[in-house]
Symmetry: C2
């Protein structure tokens, strides 16, 4: 009796095609401007059908966003599973997030919807649970590296790994959000290149959580954040 199984596959396939259509429209227009009619059009289905598969526009949105979280998680997992020294891995996590920002800008943009619950009106309980779960996986990668750094003595033992992960993530995320939305503004009104700001912020924070031993060991790496300046001076 393969019939129910085939039905199940077809249903799953339909679900994915709806996400594909939704992604296309959301990427182009953002949450607000995208309409369910457009998504239905793109999916070659009627609007009513969308609601047989997803509870609300917001649920659909978060489902697309989860793809982004998964991509980011994979990038992080690839970094933390290398044989590189812990400190290097930490730098690479920062780089990976920046890379994600540049390569998957549309997903990155979706993230800040998730961060502002004022827009979570139409989101179902289960969808929130799913997102939290995926989110946790990403956090665990960062926290894990810091934890290992402390154990092997390259990261200060008096800092809390979770707190530190939040600090590192917050500053990176905040600066990249600026880059996305106000790059020109900062360039023109404040004569500041946010690219530099990100590098320097990461450098400052990283240096401040390393042990003295690790600072010596990775001196070249630590200078990286300031290299643009150095070249200018020479």
């Amino acid at each position: 009796m393969g019939i129910p199984e085939r039905k199940e596959r077809e249903k799953e396939h339909r679900r994915e095609e709806i996400i594909n259509a939704a992604q296309k429209v959301f990427f182009e227009k953002g949450l607000q401007a995208a309409t369910m009619d457009e998504i239905a059009e793109a999916a070659e289905l009627s609007k009513g059908t969308l609601y047989l598969y997803y509870k609300s526009k917001e649920d659909l949105y978060l489902t697309v966003m989860m793809r982004g979280i998964e991509i980011l998680h994979n990038m992080f997992a690839a970094t933390t599973s290398t044989k590189e020294p812990t400190v290097v891995q930490l730098v690479q996590l920062g780089d990976a997030y920046y890379e994600f920002f540049k390569q998957h800008r549309n997903y990155f943009r979706m993230f800040y919807f998730f961060q502002h619950p004022q827009f979570h009106k139409g989101v179902s309980e289960d969808m929130m649970m799913n997102c939290s779960e995926e989110n946790q996986k990403v956090w665990r990668e960062v926290i894990g590296v810091i934890q290992r750094g402390i154990e092997e003595g390259t990261i200060r033992p008096d800092i809390n790994p979770v707190e530190t992960a939040v600090i590192l993530w917050s500053s990176s995320n905040a600066i990249m959000t600026r880059m996305d939305t106000q790059l020109e503004y900062f360039k023109e009104r404040m004569s500041v290149d946010l690219d530099d700001v990100l590098r320097k912020s990461n450098a400052l924070l990283l240096e401040s959580i390393l042990t003295d031993r690790a600072k010596q060991q990775h001196r070249a790496l630590l200078l990286r954040g300031w290299s643009a300046e150095k070249i200018e001076i020479n």
Copy 2:
């Protein structure tokens, strides 16, 4: 001929009453959920009249928000005009922003609308200009303190004041945004108190931009970020 002047005053008064009404509704419901009919109701005017005074819902929203920027600016200005040492002023700027966050949460929330241009659809050009101008004033307070710190030798001369202001502001802002929206989440899912995170993040960043001389001079101040830990250990 005092009549046109009186008319002008009355018109201005009407404008303010509309903002008061809008503020009440926006504080209660947020941008999305608030309706122009509600605001009209609160202002005891018809909806059409609102549009004689403000171009759009978003313009009205930003007008309310500007009150918040002004409050923050005044708090910053009060800090930077004291006789305190520059390093202390810098710490106090961080404290002032946190105080603003706690005392004027509703205004703080409005700020992150401003940071995400995807919602700026209905905002008029002049309104954006006004906001930028007010924003600049706040930035100048922070940058000015850092600048003076460099000049007097308490802040590292190799850092850029503007970049550093952006770094300090970004991390503070990011963590407070978390506090506002996901305090419980971080407490329950990650066993982290964002209050600690903010203090430690500020402490790390501050220490990393001071000169060695200043670090010695303000040792007590620098320990502040870690005091909760110290007490726990004792």
